[in-house]
């Protein structure tokens, strides 16, 4: 069940919030946990066992870590916890990739075993590692319901945002639910829904319609532009929905995006794109490796390790390794050459950054290295049947207005205008927000019943 599906919107959502608001505060966490389990079971009925097992093992390890034990014992428990989580993720996500790679290296032809990929496993495993690391360092304690919610809470279980247990724990004990907060959450949720349903899914028809490798140069660039926007609106839309649902329940989750396509360098981009994942790698991999306060060769090593892992986290395939390392190499160059501090016109910085980001999305979206190479070649005319064809022209005609709207939506322009209106005419701004909420919800419903809904792109990671 996706957050933007009809069954969630018109079945799960009213049922959950009716019960949630009617229940006394002390029962709300339990209700939230039960509904979260139901939510997960609906989307992935068999792999819920993996989630529950992961939560149970990590909870017990966390209990052991928070107890009064010797440093050596605690270290062993922490190492065991890390191994368990890496093994869990490795078995379900990387078995096929490792098998194919080994077979290919040995020249053996064998069919790779196919294991189900549990929904959100990359996210909840990272949450678990974060919890164990913090328990190891600071001896944090968690109750069973609180920890289960940390791992399984339905708005976050599929795609985050990732957060530390310490940031969630106080909200589990005390959180305020008032009308303004709930209305703010609703507005945020509906904006996220609209980003996903009205923009990302529609642009998805362009990138998919032009094919894995479009026939023409124009098709390749148009497909890439559409995919670039689709990915942002899809994932940031999901985050808005998660934050909105959290707000409706009284939670505050961390932001995950800050206008990433307005970045002026790749380093800047990663401070704005999937912020919580970047923070996780920074806190639990980059800093422990030595961070940036080290020699240049070690800095390069640390960065490349982080970006190799970032690539692999996103998917079990060589294209994701290439994508991760591409970003790692560019960030190394930026850091070593001090490009962020040099006087380069911001327009030039922005254009170069956007081209690099878009180039990066080519391996990210490709099913294999061959497809990626063909796509790059097509973008520059190699193997293309021409500069433009009827399909590219058709998509350009039909979707250019939406692409332009989406491009504007990637900037803080609309948000700034709304803030200014809110300062000058708060009553009007409030009424417009209310009207926009209703209108966008109805519009999304029209699109959803037309069966254009597609599962979130990031859900597959």
């Amino acid at each position: 069940m996706g957050l933007g599906s009809i069954i969630f919107l018109y079945g799960f959502c009213p049922a959950f919030f009716l019960i949630y608001y009617l229940l006394p505060k002390r029962f709300r966490n339990a209700a939230l946990l039960l509904f979260s389990l139901a939510f997960y079971a609906w989307g992935d009925p068999y792999c819920i066992c993996v989630l529950i097992a992961s939560a149970a093992v990590n909870f017990l390890l966390g209990r052991l870590l928070s107890g009064d034990r010797s440093a050596r014992t605690r270290k062993c428990i922490f190492a065991a916890g890390c191994c368990f989580n890496i093994l869990l993720l490795g078995v379900f996500k990387y078995t096929g990739f490792i098998f194919r790679t080994v077979c290919s290296a040995l020249g053996i032809e064998r069919t790779a075993p196919v294991l189900p990929l549990p929904m959100g496993i990359s996210f909840y495993t990272f949450q678990a590692v974060s919890f164990l690391a913090d328990a190891y360092r600071r001896r944090i304690k968690a109750g069973p319901v609180g920890f289960s919610l940390y791992m399984m809470m339905f708005p976050r279980v599929m795609q985050g945002p990732l957060m530390r247990y310490e940031d969630l724990a106080p909200q589990l004990d005390a959180r305020t639910v008032d009308a303004e907060r709930v209305a703010g959450g609703i507005f945020r949720f509906v904006i996220g829904l609209a980003k996903k349903v009205l923009i990302a899914d529609v642009l998805g028809t362009v990138s998919a319609g032009l094919g894995a490798v479009p026939d023409t140069v124009a098709g390749a660039w148009l497909g890439l532009a559409a995919y670039t926007l689709q990915l942002y609106f899809d994932f940031s839309g999901y985050t808005d929905m998660a934050l909105g649902l959290g707000g409706m329940m009284g939670f505050t989750f961390p932001e995950n995006f800050r206008y990433p396509y307005c970045s002026r360098s790749i380093s800047d981009f990663w401070r704005r794109w999937h912020i919580t994942l970047g923070a996780w790698f920074r806190d639990y991999v980059y800093f422990p490796l030595g961070g940036s306060r080290t020699t240049k060769p070690k800095l390069v090593r640390n960065l490349l390790i982080v970006w190799l892992l970032t690539g692999l986290w996103h998917g079990a395939g060589w294209t994701f390794v290439i994508w991760g390392l591409f970003h790692g190499v560019v960030i190394c160059i930026e850091k070593l050459a001090g490009l962020e501090k040099r006087k380069i016109p911001s327009g030039v910085r922005h254009i170069v950054c956007m081209f690099l980001v878009m180039f990066g999305w080519v391996p990210f979206r490709s099913a294999g290295v061959g497809e990626m190479s063909a796509y790059f070649a097509r973008m520059f005319g190699a193997g293309a049947v021409g500069a433009v064809d009827s399909t590219a022209l058709l998509y350009l005609h039909d979707y250019l207005p939406l692409i332009l709207i989406a491009a504007v939506g990637c900037t803080p322009l609309v948000s700034k205008l709304c803030s200014r209106l809110g300062e000058k005419r708060p009553a009007l701004a409030g009424a417009l927000r209310c009207a926009a909420t209703v209108l966008l919800l109805l519009l999304c419903t029209v699109f959803l019943v037309n069966s254009t809904y597609q599962p979130q792109l990031y859900a597959r990671f």
């Binding site: 018109y10 009213p14 609703i186 708060p426 009553a427 419903t445 029209v446």
Partner: protein, 392 residues
């Protein structure tokens, strides 16, 4: 004020969610979608042996049975058309409101299977086979959707299908598509096809039937004098008398204009013509049950204006021009030509292989004493059902 708008937002949001959820529970389930031309998902049976399929079925059910879904589809179509999109609901929409379908390329394997099935059937039955390539709407009018529609597939389909049929021994190709391309420009073609339908109108079908009859005369199956001409039929212009609900317009909830040019022809004297839906004489039916069922009504569509896609029916006309007895294997493009062939042949058996599985071809040809078999399919349709029927 902030609190008021906050409360309004909450009430509106949860009101819409809960209201639609309740309506979904209260309202009876819809059986099918007109706009999508498909059966809608029924309430799933809670079979716990396959949980993934169960949740998937409930997801589909929730979408398919959403309250007032058909109206919401109509709103979606209106939004698409308002944006001036040129391709929506798998259909090209021209600036003049013409609707064209996506051109698919015929596969080599399907062509090979057709050739081998045709050769086998012609050899087994021992009667002449004439395969008429009928010009599909895209063939004649893809220029209307330029530069967004690539007519390459459509044009290559014709030559590839023609080459394939020409290579089949015992089968003659009647290249009606070629005749149309040679004789009619786009302006004339516009008068021969429905604007919002997949099909041609009576005028286009009549010209095609003439072309087929001429080919039959060239092949010696009928004489040149037997070929019926325009004034052998009664012609009417139904434009303005009824709304035409094109099957492609239905995809857009009939939001495009239903005021189509509707030419219509019929045989002049129907008194002695007999219609049967059985191979023997057991099921005799009225002409009005088979031909032009909707004539005189306020709404017409392709099926009610001409003949429906029945699996089998046959027509006997003692006053026909030729005493020959033919079997027509066809798709829906044949429907408006029924009266033409009724005028031409004393007996016509018509089979739509999509809906007919009863008697094998060879047995039928022998039992009904068939003189020739005419295949009438539009050129993008190399149907597996036809191949199956030919293979017996």
């Amino acid at each position: 004020m902030r609190k008021i708008t906050a409360y309004l937002t909450i009430i509106a949001f949860f009101g819409i969610l809960a209201g639609c959820a309740l309506l979904g529970i209260v309202l009876p389930d819809a059986q099918s979608s007109l706009a999508e031309n498909r059966t809608l998902t029924a309430r799933p049976v809670n079979d716990l042996s396959d949980l993934e399929a169960l949740t998937e079925n409930w997801n589909n059910y929730a979408v398919d049975q959403f309250p007032m879904r058909e109206r919401l589809l109509s709103v979606y179509s209106a939004l698409e058309l308002m944006q001036g999109k040129r391709f929506s609901r798998n259909t090209y929409v021209t600036s003049d409101g013409w609707l064209l379908t996506f051109p698919y390329a015929l596969t080599d394997s399907s062509l090979q299977n057709l050739v081998s099935a045709l050769e086998g059937a012609a050899g087994r039955t021992g009667v002449p086979f004439v395969y008429a390539l009928l010009p599909q709407k895209n063939d004649m009018l893809s220029g209307l959707a330029e530069p967004y529609l690539d007519a390459g597939n459509t044009l290559s389909n014709r030559t590839r299908l023609l080459d394939a049929i020409a290579s089949a021994s015992g089968v003659t190709a009647a290249d009606v598509s070629g005749d149309f391309l040679e004789l009619y420009g786009e302006d004339e073609a516009e008068r021969m096809y429905f604007r919002t339908d997949f099909h041609w109108n009576a005028l286009g079908a009549f010209r095609a039937a003439e072309s087929i009859a001429s080919e039959l005369a060239r092949e010696g199956i009928i004489s040149e004098a037997d070929v019926p001409r325009e004034d052998d039929f009664e012609w009417r212009d139904l434009t303005g008398e009824a709304e035409y609900m094109g099957d492609l317009n239905r995809r857009f909830s009939n939001l495009l204009s239903t005021g189509e040019f509707i030419p219509y022809y019929s045989v002049k004297n129907t008194e002695r013509i007999e219609y049967y839906t059985s191979v023997d004489d057991s099921v005799k039916v009225e002409r009005s049950e088979i031909v032009s069922r909707g004539l005189g009504g306020k709404e017409l569509n392709y099926n009610t204006l001409f003949t429906d896609n029945l699996g089998y029916f046959r027509v006997i006309n003692p006053d026909a021009r030729s005493d020959k007895h033919v079997l027509i294997l066809k798709d829906s493009y044949q429907n408006p030509t029924t009266d033409y062939f009724t005028e031409l042949f004393s007996e016509v058996d018509i089979i739509d292989p999509r809906a007919y599985k009863d008697i094998p071809l060879q047995e039928l040809v022998e039992a009904r004493d068939i003189d020739a078999v005419i295949l009438m399919f539009h050129q993008e349709n190399v149907s597996s059902e036809l191949i199956g029927f030919l293979n017996g």
